[in-house]
């Protein structure tokens, strides 16, 4: 078989320029075939997702809003080393470190923690370099399964710890699962 005639998919069709027969020129068969196709589609499963009520599942590697993780005891993992801010190509991350007090041992994992941790979501390009740079596995873009919502006010795009830190109930669930 010559290379012109091979069809790896099995769907290749030779096009010809021959005169149509009377039956073909009436187009009745073709129209009936078309109508049958559209009729079949009437009963097919609809591909539309009813958006606000239903949402499409995120891919496991989808990079959305960042999340500052808690460990299995519910303590914040971040130690405010600043490597994420350093690695950030968009200069979106700022933080201020503070020292942990003895009575805060149940809140923070390390002796130093981020008192203020801010990400400017307008600057962020969601590249995930902060996630790679973090030595404490404290920041992830794939965990929150959230998209940063649109807004009309620029100030609202600077997300602080209250938006970024993993919610406590989620941490409790994680702990329950690991036990």
């Amino acid at each position: 078989m010559s290379i012109q005639n091979t069809s790896l998919s099995g769907r290749k069709k030779q096009v010809s320029n021959k005169e149509m027969t009377l039956g073909e020129r009436l187009y009745i068969g073709a129209i009936a075939g078309g109508m049958a196709t559209t009729f079949k589609h009437l009963f097919k499963k609809k591909v539309t997702i009813n958006y606000p009520e239903e949402t499409r599942p995120f891919s496991p590697v989808y990079r959305g809003q960042h999340m500052l993780m808690r460990d299995e005891e519910g303590r914040e993992r971040c130690t405010a080393c600043g490597l994420c801010a350093l690695s950030c190509p968009a200069e979106a991350i700022t933080m201020k470190a503070a020292e942990r007090k003895p009575e805060e041992k149940h809140l923070y994992r390390e002796e130093k923690y981020a008192e203020i941790y801010e990400i400017n979501m307008l600057r962020c390009i969601y590249c995930g370099l902060c996630e790679e740079a973090c030595p404490k596995q404290a920041i992830y873009l794939t965990k929150s399964k959230k998209i940063v919502k649109a807004d009309t006010n620029r100030e609202h795009f600077i997300f602080g710890k209250e938006q970024l830190v993993m919610p406590l109930d989620q941490a409790i669930q994680n702990t329950a699962k690991s036990e």
Partner: protein, 343 residues
């Protein structure tokens, strides 16, 4: 007695008007739903349960729009266009037999607004006038696209009305009557015209598509070339009237198809039903049967619209003049020969 007739006819006229409007309204929703389903989508489902209030929302939107008037010297004709379209679309329904007689309070009520003996001629007269709505509207818009569209509609209507009229002649020969009531009565039980006149039915169906400006004959409003055609310059409820008239015309044309070829209100076992359950019950079932047939044709209109692409202009003219008219004449000749041999 006279008053009874006036009341009876008024009720029928109001009912027919309301039903036509209701059908036209829900045709817009049905069209969008069927379009969506054929394309694997869901269609409008936000206004009311399952989108049932969508036509109301659409109407409300059109009422709230600005009434734009283009810079045209013919403001009167511009306003007249949609008015004619709408009136003519509704006028045909006057002669359609919606069912056999009903006996109410000892009176035989004919379910028809006007039983005239030239009903077929009346239908064709009204159909011919209905093209004026689009033509006048398109011409008065003072817009080149509208004008092209108007010219296309005019030539298309003239071409297809001939074939349509000729395909009907065979039926008139069979029933030797022009009254739609007698044609409907002549198709009792399963003696539907479609079984005797399959070719005629086919021609009439194709011409109906052309007469109502539905795909594949919607050259008048092809969005790609003519940005909407004759209603390019229209807005608000005037535009709504044009669009609404199209659906009303579709409903009426489906009714005509059902009455002329699919046996109107007749169904197999009608005499049996009349003997066992009484005339009235049998005839009420007949009305329901007629509406089922109408719904089938409306569905067919929409189904075809989302299946077959638009004709090119020369193809349209070729089909009309070189195929349908000779076929219709052949149909008349064959019918005449068969009728003569059977006499």
């Amino acid at each position: 007695m006279e008053e009874a007739i006036i009341i009876e006819k008024s009720v029928i006229i109001v009912a027919v008007f309301a039903i036509t409007m209701l059908f036209a309204m829900y045709c817009t929703l049905a069209e969008r739903k069927i379009a969506a389903w054929i394309q694997d989508r869901r269609g409008p489902n936000r206004a009311g349960p399952g989108g049932m209030l969508q036509p109301l929302a659409d109407g409300l939107k059109l009422f709230a729009k600005e009434e734009f008037m283009p810079n045209t010297p013919n403001t009167f004709l511009f306003v007249l266009g949609p008015f004619i379209s709408m009136t003519m679309a509704l006028m045909t329904s006057a002669v359609i037999p919606w069912g056999d007689t009903l006996e109410i309070a000892g009176r035989k009520v004919i379910l028809q607004a006007a039983d005239i003996n030239v009903a077929m001629l009346y239908v064709f007269a009204v159909l011919s006038v209905s093209v004026y709505g689009i033509m006048i509207g398109g011409w008065a818009s003072n817009n080149k696209y509208s004008l092209i569209s108007a010219m296309r509609v005019a030539s298309q209507m003239i071409s297809y009305e001939i074939a349509m009229g000729l395909s009907i002649v065979a039926i008139l020969m069979m029933h030797s009557s022009m009254s739609l009531r007698e044609i409907a009565a002549g198709q009792h039980e399963m003696h539907w015209n479609i079984f005797y006149q399959p070719l005629g039915f086919f021609i009439f169906l194709i011409c109906s598509f052309a007469e109502t400006n539905r795909t594949p004959f919607d050259l008048a409003e092809c969005e790609q070339e003519l940005i909407g055609g004759y209603h390019t310059e229209y807005s608000s409820m005037r535009m709504g009237f044009f669009l609404f008239a199209e659906y009303a015309a579709m409903f009426i044309s489906s009714t005509l198809l059902a009455v002329l070829y699919l046996g109107a209100y007749n169904y197999p076992g009608m005499t049996w039903a009349a003997e066992n359950w009484g005339e009235n019950t049998a005839n009420i079932i007949g009305i329901a049967v007629l509406f089922i047939k109408i719904c089938f044709f409306i569905f067919l209109y929409m189904w075809v619209r989302w299946t077959i692409p638009r004709f090119r202009y020369d193809q349209l003219m070729n089909l009309g003049w070189k195929t349908l008219i000779p076929l219709a004449i052949l149909n008349i000749v064959v019918t005449a020969v068969v009728l003569l041999l059977n006499r």
